[in-house]
């Protein structure tokens, strides 16, 4: 579903065949009133031409616009246009799962592309959060393996043999350490630029590159084919940027093997998290660029645990985290009012 940028009414998709391409159309109300602008996003490159022609055709055929808006189903809409039937028939159809991406969020991060890997720069806090996240994941998975079987593990590669999905991998800040510890990591991000940056960064290190795969997709894209494939799914600092949290978390949960783990780190929705996480961090100390976090999107651990519970997960660990801006380090604290991490395990 898409939202008209002008009047915020939801409108139905038109271009249903190109999973990564989404076109924002003005609502019918806006079109009739003469407002609203056509905005088009580049998607998967080989479909760009199609969408461009689609757009021009639609511009020319304004009457068809009303038809396409009311029809709803993507395929029928585009086939109602002239000359595109045979092209559409050839097009590969993927289940479109765009409901949890928020356009604004994706754009925000793409703008910060070059700064991802500057450890003293914009993403300093994320880099130093690895000090907490990586040992958490490493120890939890190693314990999981020890309980299951007594295999021989090379001490320098404790995560060898594990398949991990890093949702919202961004520039690969968390994916690379996990891959360096031996895990097979699939990094997934909605922003194409982030995937490109991550891939460009990892290609120089052959030992790590052979353990990571970056895919530009959303979690829902993976649900159809990769269900119950991963030993662990990690979504770190993503949940607070997602439009529809229950769907997102459910999709993540579906991808975990029975007995596998899910790790989430995000911010709590409290007055303190507004004060510290938004006002102080963004405006006063400039730890992250202003506008990165929307307090309305924060979620409390209880709500998150409820969603996990509904998906047959049992929480193993819920712990707060705190960032010390003077020392530029994260530390574990009991209080979950601002940042917290959850580790939950799927029922077998």
């Amino acid at each position: 579903m898409f939202v008209c940028r002008t009047c915020r009414q939801t409108v139905q998709r038109v271009c249903g065949q190109h999973s990564a391409t989404y076109v924002q159309w003005p609502s019918r109300a806006c079109v009739t009133a003469g407002r609203g602008s056509f905005e088009q996003r580049r998607g998967v490159h080989n479909t760009r031409v199609q969408c461009q022609s689609l757009r021009t055709r639609l511009l020319q055929n304004k009457t068809n616009l009303d038809v396409s808006l009311t029809k709803g189903a993507g395929i029928s809409a585009s086939s109602s246009l002239q000359g595109s039937a045979e092209e559409n028939a050839q097009k590969f159809q993927r289940p479109m799962a765009q409901t949890t991406i928020d356009e604004e969020e994706v754009k925000k991060f793409s703008n910060l592309a070059e700064l991802w890997w500057d450890e003293a720069g914009e993403f300093e806090a994320l880099h130093s959060m690895n000090e907490l996240r990586v040992p958490l994941i490493r120890d939890a998975l190693v314990n999981q393996r020890q309980q299951e079987s007594e295999g021989t593990v090379r001490p320098s590669l404790p995560l060898e043999g594990f398949q991990i999905l890093d949702v919202g991998s961004g520039g690969g800040i968390l994916s690379e350490p996990l891959a360096r510890l031996g895990a097979l990591v699939v990094g997934v991000d909605a922003s194409e630029e982030n995937i490109k940056i991550a891939q460009a960064h990892v290609m120089h290190d052959p030992k790590v590159a052979r353990n990571i795969k970056y895919i530009q997709a959303t979690v829902e894209d993976l649900v159809g084919t990769e269900e119950e494939k991963f030993d662990a799914v990690v979504t770190s600092e993503v949940v607070e940027h997602v439009a529809d949290v229950p769907t997102f978390v459910t999709a993540c949960c579906q991808l975990v093997k029975p007995g596998g783990s899910i790790f989430l780190t995000t911010l709590n929705k409290t007055y303190l998290s507004y004060a510290l996480g938004v006002v102080v961090a963004e405006n006063l100390l400039r730890l992250v660029s202003p506008g990165t976090h929307d307090w309305n999107k924060f979620i409390s651990p209880q709500d998150l645990q409820y969603i996990l519970d509904q998906n047959d997960f049992s929480t193993r660990l819920l712990h707060g985290m705190m960032y010390n801006p003077l020392m530029k380090r994260w530390s574990w604290i009991k209080n979950t009012s601002v940042n917290y991490a959850i580790h939950a395990v799927k029922a077998t």
Binding site: S128, R138, P155, S156, H204
Partner: protein
């Protein structure tokens, strides 16, 4: 027959995975670039011990470490009969580091002399201070020749479980450091450090460790700013023969206005001299015939020409006062041994300066040892700080590997820098302060320092604290 064949086979086959890989790899001789995890530039005591510490560490079992040393390979170390004139005072924490990879046992098998007491006194007054561990059982330090230390470390390095690629007669022509070197912008913009060895050969490494001494090329390439101070002093070293064989476990140091003269025990009959003095004086001393030189040394320890009457009176009165408050607290002044001879060709001199790098690290570059800091030898702390750097960096790199970080990542390198600077800067500042304090014969300062020294001498707790800090 079959058994002997299998024995032969086992002996011919490489014993570990890495060597096996090299046997079967198809690397051609025209290959110009190489990959390494860590390149240590400089195979001196500190560089070699860094390589050794990493080679014996479990976390680095599958990592490729390269050590570049400009000097030729001298093979296995054979202990020479004569003592070398360059020696170090190793602290107990350094002994701990060296024993972690077995080098300390090698040193003890060769030769080392424990120091159980240290006496420091002034030539301008009667004040003195004596350090010793309680009960005189634990040594304060060990005096070991530099060659012995290096020989022991290299021996252990060659036997390391994870073989280190030691390249003798190799020194890097230049370093291309990301975001720093001008040539990096123009060329490939590879994110790793490129160590150019000349002759079209180069190594790409995740982390470059600079252990190449006070005139470090790595530090220059990384454009790290340093604070430098030329002391305008030269240190004269020599191996001296003592008048009689004694239980030589005391280090003697007397502060002259031109600089401190120190006698460090090497064995029952021999001691090592480190005499810091003005450059002209040093040149003169090196030219003196043997007997005159011995006379000069004895004179330096026994003369009373610089005695300041006021300071003497002040110290007398103060120590009487202290004796009344804390009877038996002050240590007694002992007399240093007399020197009768100097080993031929053992006299040498080297200039002294203070140097401290404002930053020890850059992304993918770290400095250890003299490349980061160079001190005045008056407290024998220089090499111990270097070994402390090695220990700290090894532990931090092990933690980084456990956390899956990139070896050259700035996060943990900054932790190393902070830790070491916090430890090193006070030592550097204190030693520099002491050197300045004792290089004058300006009466008020003499009186002040004499009283201060006498006071500290009677505070056993404070002395123990100093010993702890110096040996930590």
């Amino acid at each position: 027959m079959a058994m002997s064949l299998s024995l032969l086979f086992r002996r011919c086959c490489p014993k570990n995975r890495q060597a096996l890989h090299r046997l079967f790899s198809t690397a051609s001789t025209s290959e110009s670039s190489d990959d390494a995890d860590i390149v240590i530039s400089g195979g001196g005591m500190v560089g070699a011990s860094m390589a050794c510490a990493l080679a014996y560490s479990d976390s680095f079992a599958d990592k490729r470490i390269v050590l570049l040393e400009a000097a030729p390979d001298r093979g296995d170390f054979h202990l020479p009969k004569r003592y070398s004139n360059r020696t170090c005072a190793l602290s107990p924490s350094t002994a701990g580091l060296l024993s972690s990879f077995g080098a300390w046992e090698e040193i003890e098998m060769m030769r080392s002399q424990p120091v159980r007491r240290m006496q420091v006194w002034d030539s301008c007054s009667d004040s003195m201070i004596a350090f010793s561990q309680e009960d005189m059982t634990e040594p304060l330090a060990w005096i070991v020749e530099n060659d012995v230390i290096l020989g022991a470390i290299m021996r252990r390095l060659r036997q390391a479980p994870n073989p280190v690629d030691i390249r003798f007669e190799t020194s890097a022509k230049s370093f291309v450091i990301p975001h720093v070197s001008e040539s990096w912008e123009e060329k490939s913009k590879h994110p790793w450090v490129k160590v150019e060895l000349g002759g079209e050969k180069s190594i790409y490494t995740r982390l470059l460790v600079g252990a190449d001494g006070s005139k470090s090329a790595v530090r220059a390439a990384a454009k790290l700013h340093t604070v430098k101070w030329n002391y305008e002093q030269t240190a004269v070293v020599a191996t001296l023969r003592l008048a009689e064989a004694i239980d030589n476990n005391v280090a003697w140091q007397r502060f002259l206005p031109t600089g401190p003269i120190a006698l460090l025990p090497l064995s029952e009959e021999f001691s090592s001299l480190v005499w810091t003095t003005t450059p002209e004086d040093a040149k003169h001393l090196l030219k003196l015939p043997e007997e005159s030189f011995v006379d000069a040394v004895n004179d330096a320890y026994w003369h009373e020409r610089d005695k300041n009457a006021l300071a003497d009176k002040a110290v007398d009165g103060f120590s009487q006062l202290l004796n009344n408050i804390m009877p038996g607290g002050t240590a007694m002044k002992q007399l240093p041994p007399t020197v009768t001879g100097v080993e031929e060709k053992s006299r040498a001199a080297f200039p002294l300066e203070l140097m401290h790098a404002s930053h020890y690290v850059r992304p993918r570059v770290a400095l250890i040892g003299d490349a980061a800091h160079r001190l005045h030898p008056l407290a024998g702390q220089g090499v111990n700080l270097g070994f402390g750097d090695v220990e700290c960096l090894t532990r931090i790199l092990e933690q980084a590997v456990a956390g899956g970080s990139d070896l050259g990542s700035l996060n943990h390198l900054l932790t190393y820098e902070t830790k070491r600077q916090r430890h090193n800067l006070p030592v550097v500042a204190t030693i520099d302060g002491l050197q300045r304090l004792y290089s004058t014969d300006f009466t008020p300062l003499v009186v002040a320092r004499s009283l201060g020294l006498t006071a500290v001498n009677s505070l056993t707790m404070f002395k123990n604290l100093i010993i702890q800090r110096a040996t930590a």
